[in-house]
Subunit: 352 residues, 2 copies
């Protein structure tokens, strides 16, 4: 049995999409339970339309929803303790839920999650991991925008956390990990990336196989299970890929509607186009995973529909069922117990 806490008010379309999405995911995973946090008069009438969901949910009425355009600091000031977003996170902290899912404002969700759940021991900064469709299946890419810039140590932490997520999601024993860089030669790239590569190579962890640097075009190829980068470059890569996919879909649409011959061809090949559309469907891989906190939080795209929100709940379900947090904990311990005492001592001195 997996319990998911849901911020029912998050997203551009609020409870209408969120509750429909939760109901869809429940159809696929009958062992799901929900704790829902929402504004009573908006949510309860919708919940009535989903009796199966209602039967598996506890509903908590809240008096405030964080707005999509609220600044993180504002959201914290006004929403701490009692907003739907905060209380959905709090449910994970209190052990009432295994994972939290929200389609709300990313900045506010991250700020609240850090404040409410705190980062794990040994982790300085959380990361947002995205599931990336590739020619070989799926990869995990992190950080796609939790924080800007990352020290080598943080890139190593991201590697360990991303690999734990890959083990939870893809059921591979020792996921391959690559560091995103601008060239495959050892001499290129940012100092922190090179240093992280050296650390990973030396650590030679049981939980992951570090394979070296990868480049932007390796993302779509699926060269490795986990691609690690700092949040600025990661966010730009993610949005560039999304933009390119939309651009090509638009080219395709326009090319197919230009002549009657092309239109006829389109009709004949419709099943193939449907297949392609499904492959490229951004809703299927909806759900950024916040890693490095004492609790797993899934961020759904704000603008998604019920199918997309259901996919985010599915991701949360998989993470909880495979006990992602425990995996990360074990793997981080492996890494930190293997580091030479001198390095740790030096870091303590530097930090002190």
């Amino acid at each position: 049995m997996i319990t998911v806490s849901v911020d029912a008010m998050g997203g551009d379309h609020g409870p209408e999409v969120v509750l429909a999405g939760a109901a869809k995911s429940l159809e696929r995973h009958p062992d799901l339970n929900f704790v829902l946090f929402g504004i009573e008069q908006e949510c309860l009438p919708i919940l009535e339309r989903f009796p199966a969901l209602k039967a598996k949910s506890r509903f908590h009425a809240c008096d405030r929803a964080v707005q999509m355009d609220e600044k993180p600091s504002q959201a914290l000031r006004h929403g701490r303790g009692h907003s739907t977003m905060w209380r959905a996170l709090q449910a994970v902290k209190d052990g009432e839920a295994d994972v939290c899912v929200s389609a709300g404002n990313t900045g506010a969700l991250m700020a609240m999650a850090k404040f409410c759940l705190r980062t794990m021991t040994n982790i300085e900064r959380p990361a947002i991991a995205a599931i990336w469709p590739t020619l070989r299946g799926e990869s995990i890419v992190l950080d796609v925008g939790a924080t800007i810039g990352a020290e080598s140590r943080q890139l190593v932490d991201f590697s360990v956390m991303g690999a734990a997520m890959a083990r939870a999601l893809f059921e591979v024993e020792r996921p391959t990990v690559g560091l995103l860089n601008v060239g495959v030669e050892e001499v290129k790239g940012q100092e922190e990336v090179r240093e992280a590569g050296r650390l990973l190579r030396e650590a030679d962890l049981k939980s992951l196989e570090y394979t070296g640097f990868v480049e932007g075009d390796d993302l779509g190829k699926g060269t490795v299970d986990v691609v690690v980068t700092e949040g600025f470059a990661g966010n730009i890569a993610l949005k560039t890929a999304e933009g390119t996919a939309r651009q090509i879909a638009e080219y395709l649409r326009s090319a197919m509607s230009r002549t009657w011959l092309a239109q006829a061809g389109y009709i004949l090949a419709k099943s193939a186009f449907d297949r392609l559309r499904e492959k490229m469907d951004p809703r299927k891989v909806n759900g950024g995973v916040f890693l490095g906190l004492n609790g797993v939080v899934i961020k759904s795209h704000g603008g998604t529909d019920a199918e997309g929100f259901a996919a985010a709940v599915d991701v949360g379900y998989d993470m909880a069922r495979n006990d992602l947090r425990a995996k990360i904990d074990t793997d981080l311990n492996e890494f930190h117990s293997r580091r030479p005492a001198e390095t740790v001592a030096q870091e303590v001195r530097t930090a002190g």
Copy 2:
């Protein structure tokens, strides 16, 4: 009359592709002239096959070609003064050619170009600009990998240079410029990017219209004429977009060959697919432009074919015909003359 100096030995396929490409571009631009630098016994037999090109070229025999896998420092040490790459650059420096085109090793070409041509007054670092196909036509994106990291001042220089290139290529009077960032809110992003935004807004230049921050998905949309970023993120964006395009092309190919109905549809819609293929053809926008040096250098993809190399020569032709270097010079002067004396004085103090 435009004269292009060509490193005939550059690229994975050497003079076979380079000379065929130059010949193709000459067909489109009969006022082109070439100075070719190559290894005599490899080039002359090929040149015989292109009498029109031969008639418009001066051939200079060299004794060395820079290898595709040579390190920049190695290439400089062994190839300075006498390699085909160096001498093609030298031809621009000496005024023998208006622009240099090479499909050789990017790192070596940039190192040699910096050494041979030197950066322009007021420019600290050169940038590589890419021509990016968008839903609205084409944009210019820089830096896509000349250097890693950039101070705010350098991002402003990139903006001015990119806008000058947009004016030369697209014939717009006051190109729109956006800074690549991870969010459109003013509070987000790297400190240098925010500061560059402030500088551009305050400068309010005649030569460009600064419109604010753009994100990764704005690249494909063509939201602005010029997208400015530092080389690490820019290179990752470029390669991610290329990778995503290849990935989708592969999905499409596989979907279209699965059933006989899809295959029949493909045949009917073939003209539409051809159109799409042409839209997505990476050869059409082949040619990274080195900006900020005392001379324009075009870097063709090393693995391209004759059509792709011809496109790189076309870009060089457009740049020279529109006198890109003079445009950049004028625009940089506009920017630097408008900056408050106090800022300049402060920078001199900081640098000193």
